[in-house]
């Protein structure tokens, strides 16, 4: 097997593992053809109905329902061809020591099939796939089918997660000191599994949804003062960020606190870190951090709660200037969240009910506006200290 000169040893090992599984799993297709059986792929369904919440492990998992993609089934023939095409492209990339992005895979596989219709004899033209959504979709099918995530197949995608903190990691052949990033931060690589933790001096992980707030906390030295690893997902978390956070929790035993906007979208971002996402539930097993804690911002942080014996962090006047009226779609989304099994806990129901009763939301930036010091030196440490988080 040839591996390019730029490839590190870690990568080479990953390649070999991925190749072996890919080769074995698709071998059945070849066997079917050779032995005269209709080739088919049996793949787990990636649908909402086949997404199951496991309350024990606190994970969103893919159920056992499968579908069959047979080549001679008219509705599946095109997808079958695309799946085989994608498998062969990944296979070639792996053997040639390349690091294709999902966009590369799309371009490599895209070409025109010219065929003659019968009986009209008119020549038809059709692309192997037209949009990246199509190639992305079969890539996901392959991940599920062979049970290997694309990162493990050295397929890259654009990642936006960042991290700083007092820790040193090995990425490729370099050791990087994440405490020496200046005003910048370490961009989490698309294959976080190939990272080695060399040395860690931290007590917890704080994941901030908003990049701007991450930067503010970084500049005032939050992570140094409180021995934290500071991470941002810069919005909806990508897979690398989720995997990296998971490893921080699982391998280093660091508690993970998540700080998001106080609205249903913020709550859902937290739940993606914690239990996984509905559309990509097959990855939860490797990407979710079931012990991640929701630190805030909570509705009860804003308004206090008699039931919980909690006084608000914001004064009446501050509330008036910081909170925003919730939109119709926020309300709708909150109602959906309330029905998800992983939001069914009493604690979450209090927050969601409060949201639905007040119909207002609050961005984390608002807390920083109240005073960066308030956020860094009171709100966060105090809530961790008294244990005011949702598990």
């Amino acid at each position: 097997m040839s591996t390019g000169g730029y490839t590190t040893r870690v990568d080479a090992g990953a390649r070999e593992r991925a190749l072996k599984i890919l080769h074995e799993k698709f071998y059945d297709v070849l066997k079917d053809v050779v032995e005269g059986r209709v080739p088919r792929l049996v793949i787990k369904k990636r649908t909402l109905s086949n997404t199951i919440y496991d309350p024990e492990r606190k994970l969103l998992l893919l159920g056992d329902a499968t579908f069959e993609r047979s080549f001679l089934d008219l509705r599946e023939a095109r997808k079958f061809m695309q799946t085989m095409l994608m498998a062969s492209i990944i296979y070639e990339a792996l053997t040639q020591g390349e690091y294709p992005t999902i966009r590369d895979l799309y371009y490599r596989g895209k070409h025109t099939i010219r065929y003659r219709k019968i009986p009209s004899k008119a020549v038809g033209e059709e692309n192997t796939w037209d949009e990246q959504a199509e190639s992305d979709s079969v890539l996901r099918d392959i991940e599920v089918f062979i049970n290997v995530l694309r990162e493990e197949m050295l397929v890259l995608s654009k990642e936006k997660g960042k991290v700083v903190g007092d820790l040193r990691i090995r990425s490729g052949d370099d050791v990087i000191d994440l405490s020496k990033m200046g005003h910048g931060a370490y961009a989490i690589e698309p294959t976080p599994d190939l990272i080695d933790f060399v040395e860690v001096n931290a007590d917890f992980v704080l994941v901030v949804e908003k990049d701007a707030v991450f930067q503010q906390l970084h500049r005032i030295g939050f992570w140094k003062r409180y021995r934290a690893v500071l991470v941002t997902s810069a919005g909806q978390p990508d897979r690398a960020t989720r995997r990296f956070v998971r490893r921080l929790n699982e391998e280093l035993g660091l508690p993970v606190y998540v700080l998001t906007d106080s609205d249903p979208y913020g709550y859902y971002i937290y739940s993606v870190f914690k239990t996984g996402s509905i559309t990509l539930s097959y990855e939860s097993e490797r990407l979710a951090t079931p012990r991640a804690r929701f630190l805030g911002v909570m509705m009860t942080d804003i308004f206090g709660s008699r039931k919980l014996g909690k006084s608000p962090y914001l004064s009446e006047e501050e509330r008036r200037s910081f909170i925003i009226r919730a939109k119709e779609r926020d309300v709708k989304r909150a109602k959906e969240l309330r029905e998800y099994p992983w939001f069914r806990s009493e604690r979450w129901q209090i927050e969601l009910d409060e949201f639905l009763a007040r119909r207002v939301k609050l961005e984390i930036e608002a807390l920083a506006s109240k005073g960066l010091k308030f956020l860094a030196d009171r709100y966060v440490p105090e809530k961790i200290e008294v244990g005011d988080w949702i598990d």
Partner: protein
């Protein structure tokens, strides 16, 4: 006011039709030329196939002289039929209402007018006599006549007679007329007539020479003749007072019961006795002794008598499904053809049989409406189609909805209808349209729906097959891609994989196979 003395007189049949040529189809030179050809050809077909002879007919039209109304044409129609005994030739051709077909037996001819109208028109427009040559079957001699009609007296005038020995032993009739016509304005109709005649007479060989010198040969494509019709007795339901009187007059000295049994179909002794009982008549009474009221009573009972078998169809000579199919195939080379011959039915005591055919696709021209080929007693009906019973049935608004049969216009569809009966309810003696008698209408509709149902299953089957082909291509086009993917991963020969996959696909196809991938993949 001075009283005007009305003058009364009677005219002969010849004079009547001379004055009313248009009711026999001779309304202008163009129409007359077409009608002349038609009448002569139909006589020739009657003289052959009705006697079990495979028809061989030659038709020739030549322009002789141009005149202001059109031109004078020589029309010759020659056949290999049974011929006519020489003593009947003058009357058969030159005395109106003289016919051998006034019997209960289906033939194209019916009125005893056709040949005479052609002669009459020729005579009054060009003044030339007709020349008729006959060689009756097994006759040792051939006879030639020059004939004209004495219109006032309705009598034949024989202007010349000759006879020669029949050396070659042939038989048949040849008629030559010089008549006024207009080829350019009747050309299309005449060709259409020839073609349509050929469709229902695929057993005939017809050679046509037109005035421009073109020859058109309709070859014989089937050796089978329709079963010849046999003469039959009248059915009780179709009897009227006049028929009854002539029946009784023909056997005055036989008892009533016996006369009924011998003169009507479907009437046995028991039936005869019951009829006579209902009519309060003595079965032993001599037939010639019936009073006027007694005849009327007898007719009334017979026409409405329930317990009698429906009229027989022995005297009908329908084409049969095989001949219709052969005819449509030969002329249109369609992709699909079907025919139906219905069982005999009755209207007003006359038996009739309806047949229908359908031709679809292939070389059938695509049109906004079905092309309708109407026939009655094997005669193509070309004019007055709007007033014909068939058009009522397929009328766009109120008639058959073709969509039900999976036909969406424009479409390549031909519909053929054939009504046979000893009494076709023509709308005129020109024989162009059939009246919409309810019983006939019902049968025509049933026949048409029958063939259309067959067409529908064909179209559906074809559509299914086409869908299967399309589906197969939708899969086959991906084979090379799948094969090359497998080859990249496992180093196998992509051609071998392709062959295997194609085999698999083919084994699942029912109506066709993809011979090789090259026919699909470009």
């Amino acid at each position: 006011m001075a009283a005007v003395e009305e003058s009364f007189k009677s005219i002969s049949a010849a004079e009547f039709f001379y004055k009313n040529k248009e009711i026999a189809g001779f309304s202008n030179p163009a129409r007359a030329l077409y009608q002349t050809v038609r009448e002569l050809v139909e006589n020739s077909l009657d003289a052959t196939e009705n006697y079990g002879i495979l028809p061989r007919i030659k038709v020739s039209i030549r322009e002789m002289e141009v005149v202001p109304e059109g031109a004078y044409y020589e029309v010759i129609v020659e056949d290999n039929g049974v011929g006519i005994p020489p003593k009947y030739v003058p009357q058969a051709f030159a005395q109106l209402l003289f016919s051998s077909k006034y019997v209960l037996k289906q033939s194209r001819g019916m009125f005893g007018l056709g040949a005479k109208m052609a002669l009459l028109y020729a005579q009054i427009t060009t003044g030339q006599p007709a020349e008729v040559v006959v060689a009756p079957i097994k006759s040792k001699r051939v006879y030639g006549f020059k004939l004209k009609i004495d219109i006032g007296e309705n009598r034949p005038v024989v202007l010349g007679f000759s006879t020669t020995s029949n050396i070659s032993g042939t038989h048949g009739t040849s008629v030559r007329l010089i008549t006024l016509g207009d080829w350019s304005r009747s050309k299309q109709r005449i060709y259409e007539y020839m073609k349509r005649t050929a469709i229902v007479a695929p057993y005939a060989e017809i050679l046509f020479r037109d005035p421009e010198g073109n020859y058109l040969l309709f070859e014989r494509s089937i050796e089978k003749l329709p079963p010849p019709a046999r003469e039959t007795l009248p059915h009780p339901h179709g009897v009227d007072i006049e028929t009854m009187k002539s029946v009784l007059k023909s056997m005055p000295n036989s008892p009533l019961a016996e006369t009924l049994v011998k003169s009507f179909q479907g009437v046995g002794t028991a039936t005869a006795l019951r009829i006579l009982e209902e009519a309060r008549l003595d079965p032993e009474k001599m037939s010639g002794d019936l009073a006027e009221q007694e005849v009327e009573a007898l007719v009334r009972v017979m026409r409405s008598y329930r317990d009698v078998k429906p009229p027989r169809a022995d005297h009908l000579s329908y084409l049969g499904e095989e001949i219709i199919v052969a005819g449509l195939k030969k002329v249109f080379e369609p992709e699909f053809v079907a025919a139906v011959t219905r069982r005999p039915s009755v209207y007003e005591g006359h038996a009739f049989v309806v047949e229908a055919g359908v031709a679809y696709g292939g070389k059938v021209p695509v049109a906004d409406r079905p092309l309708v080929l109407r026939y009655a007693n094997k005669i193509p009906l070309l004019y007055d189609e709007g007033s014909d019973v068939v058009f009522k049935i397929i009328d766009e608004k109120r008639g058959i909805d073709f969509k039900v049969y999976e036909v969406e216009f424009p479409a390549p569809l031909i519909i053929l209808t054939h009504i046979c009966s000893t009494k076709i309810p023509y709308k005129g003696v020109g024989k162009e349209a059939v009246a919409d008698v309810p019983e006939i209408e019902e049968e025509v509709e049933a026949a048409l729906r029958g063939v259309l149902r067959e067409l529908r299953s064909y179209i559906l089957r074809k559509r299914r097959e086409l869908e299967e082909v399309e589906r197969a291509v939708e899969i086959a086009k991906y084979i090379p891609e799948v094969a090359s993917s497998l080859s990249k991963m496992y180093g196998v020969d992509p051609r071998e994989v392709s062959v295997k996959l194609l085999e698999m696909l083919n084994s699942r196809l029912r109506s066709f196979k993809i011979a090789d991938l090259g026919s699909v993949v470009v």
